[in-house]
Every structure is written in structure tokens, then in C-alpha cells.
Symmetry: C2
Subunit: 263 residues, 2 copies
Amino acid sequence: MQRTVQDVISAIIAGVPGAPFPETIDTLKTGAADQPVKSVAVTFMATYEVIEKAIELGVDLIITHEPTFYGHTDEIDWLEHDPIYQAKRRLIDEHHIAIWRFHDYLHSLQPDPTLTGLLKTLGWNTYALPDQPFVCQLPPRSLHELTLEIKAKLGGATVRVVGDPQMSCQRIGLLVGAWGGRMHISRFSNWSLDTLVCGEINEWETNEYVRDASAAEHPKALIVIGHSISEEDGMREVIPWLQARLPEMPITFIPTGHPLRSV
Amino acid sequence: MQRTVQDVISAIIAGVPGAPFPETIDTLKTGAADQPVKSVAVTFMATYEVIEKAIELGVDLIITHEPTFYGHTDEIDWLEHDPIYQAKRRLIDEHHIAIWRFHDYLHSLQPDPTLTGLLKTLGWNTYALPDQPFVCQLPPRSLHELTLEIKAKLGGATVRVVGDPQMSCQRIGLLVGAWGGRMHISRFSNWSLDTLVCGEINEWETNEYVRDASAAEHPKALIVIGHSISEEDGMREVIPWLQARLPEMPITFIPTGHPLRSV
């Protein structure tokens, strides 16, 4: 049976609790809904390199977690005359690549695959609280030890840290991606966290709250691991779920990799 | 003559082209407009530690560039029951510290003191284009050399980089703070930049544009130096301007320091 882009999207949405959502940024960004699909790739972000790899693999539909055109809503009017946008668009159009975003629906799955993926990478499955899986209760260790442990499990990635290195950490919240300061800061209270591990911050928000906490003698800690690092393993994790909904469809994972190097 | 908080604010606004602005987040965040002011401190951010230092110095008005309560608009309803907010609020109220934000008005000054401060720190005054001072035209150097040079001039701060280390950099845009992806990306074209040095990014925007640019064989580079690092020198730089408008008022600079350490 020849499947179309729409068939694939519909099969995914049918598996999401409460879907379809009246408002979502999970829309088709390139290509047409009635295009045939022979092969699917799943990725954190459809970068230029990921698209080249997809073409090489004969993929015609890329399922991406994050935007393709440098903004949350993938608006393109402001980019029309930009040479990088034009080159990327040309690559996509010449090879008839459909790109669909799988963000809001993905985070609605229970459990959220991005959390499952990060827990597996950190080896913390047994520490996650059954009724609050975003919270891990660990045997106490210093922030310094915790930082080195996380760094090692993330393959040596540079992480950014706030808090006293000697502070004892044991109740650790995980918030992948970029939830923003209000969510991060509220979770410290709501989840009684001493430590938050997150993907990305605005530098006038969460880190300043944690800096103030230490100064006010309510010690807290923050470890910022990078947005793509926090979610890429989750996109790999979702493939069996997708495969169960799309039997016989070849589904490949294409790694995006973290763009920033620390010097 | 006894000056009030309002006198100080009015003296500053009187010196800003086009001021007062009908909409601005430059408002009084704590204290009252009719409070007397004997001594002013200028800072990048009124953190808990900065406020403690201000109290020690006998300061009653802090002029801060960035927010005090962990969000751009300094809303506090969501923080009412938060112990860190409560502790900070107590410190402020017990010592009758007025805090006024100097952000939108500061960036409207010609030249923008945050740019002047960063140019001075980098030693690039002679490279800034007279009609486009946010653009520096440098003798060509590799991205690797440029990164090490900037890092050294910023006192060894860890910077985050995208782009081929061997790429030649010579037309460099400076955008302090957190202007966002649209501004960053548009400036690459509008200012014909090969390299952007900026304070802070959203990790699904500027860095991904630069990563795509390299892959699409239009090499570009990005150096992210940190929000507070990009603007703190500018807050020091504005003090003579303030002093000229507030003769006889003691004005002290209190450094905030960068909150994040890279491991």
C-alpha cells in the first residue's frame, strides 16, 4: 500500500492522547500532504546536513522535533531574500523532501520520550519517582560530583553550572528543551528540588534565581546541558512507538549533533 | 539639595533622545518615587549579592540594566510564595532600597554605552565603522584565532562558537544582550557580516542558521560570549554620562559577574 505524508501524520496523531490539538506548531513545513512516502527519517532538527543525509538515504519525509527555518513558528516571509534560507529551500524542493514537526504531540505522549531518552542516557531510571517521573531522588552527592557524572554520561559535553560545588544534591528535576524561567523556577518549589537539570535558559531568568538562592542561604543548583543534547536521545527513543503505528515503513534516525562548541 | 528617586529618574530621562517613551520596561521596581536618594549604584543586575553590597556602601537607589525578579517585565504575582523572592524582597524592603531599571533608555543613547563598553574591552574602537558602529572591519584572521583573542580579552571567559575554525573572519557584527534570532540573522545580510559576536541566543535560532550556512558553503561564524559579559562593561561606561546629569551625587559601580561556569 502506497502511503502519503498525510497517512503518516494521521497515524501518529491517532496515537497521541487528546489529539488532534486545535492549536499546535506541529504542521507540515515543506512538501505536500498527498506526496507519497517510501521512507521516513526522525531527527532532533532538520538542519542542512540532516537533509543531505536524508537525501542520501532515499528518505522523503523528515520528522523533526525542532524548527527548520530558525524560529519557533517556521515563518519564512522574513527570510525570503536570505541566501542561506534560499540554499536550504532549494535543497528541500529539488529533492521533494516533506518535513513535518513533531513537537507538541511528542511532548504529550506518556511517558514523554524526551524524558525517557534522557533518563536512559543518565542511567537514572530507577531514581525517577513513579508519580513524578521528572523528579529523580538520588543518593546525595556534591554538585561538583553530580556535574562530572552528568558530563561524562553526556559524552564529555560542556555543561554550564550555577551553585556551590560543595552543595549536596539529591532531589533533581529534569526539564529538557527550553521551558523558560517561570516553569523552571516554579518547579523548584512545586517539586521541592535542590537541583535542576535543563536544556536551555534565558540568562536573565533561571540562573539568576539560582544565584540569588545561594546568596540568600537557600542553596540550589542548576546544570544547563544544551537544548539538542537534552532532547536528541528522546527522538531516538520515539522510533519504536512510531514503528508500531507505521508497520513496514522504513524509519531511520539521523543524529543532529550539538552545534555549539565551548572554547 | 535633597534629591528624590524621581529627581534622579527625571534627570536621566531628560538626557535620552526621544524620551520619555510611551512604552518601556524602565520603571521603578522597588521603593517609592518620593524617597530621598543620597547615593546611587549602577549595575548590570540587582542580584541578592549586589543589593547586599549596595547596603554595605550606604546606597539607596540601584540603577540596574536587567530585571530584578527573574523575568523581563519584573512581574511578581507568580513569585509571591517563593522563598527566594521573599528573602530578596525582605532584604530590599528592610533597607528601603529603590531599584530602577535602565534598559530601553540606555540602549537609545548615541552611542549605546553597552557597545562602547564592549568595543573598549575588545580594543576594537579603531575597527568600528563610523557610520555602522556595530560593525567592525578587522584585518582577516581565522575563527580559531579570533575566538582565542576574544576569550583572552574577556578575561578567559568560556565562549560558545559555531563555524569552521579555519574560516577567515574580518567583518564582525557586535550585538550585546539577547536580541533574538530574527535580529541576529537579519544582520548577517543587512550588515554583510561573516561573523557575529553576541551575548545570548535561543538555541533553535541563530546557531542553527550559522550551522546551515557552513553546510551550504556560505561560511559564517558565531561567537556567543554570555549576556552579562556582553553588557557589564557598558554599565560601567555609562557612569560619566550619569554623573554629568547628577552632579554631586555619589555614583558607584557594583559588578554583577557572570553567573554560569562551564565545566
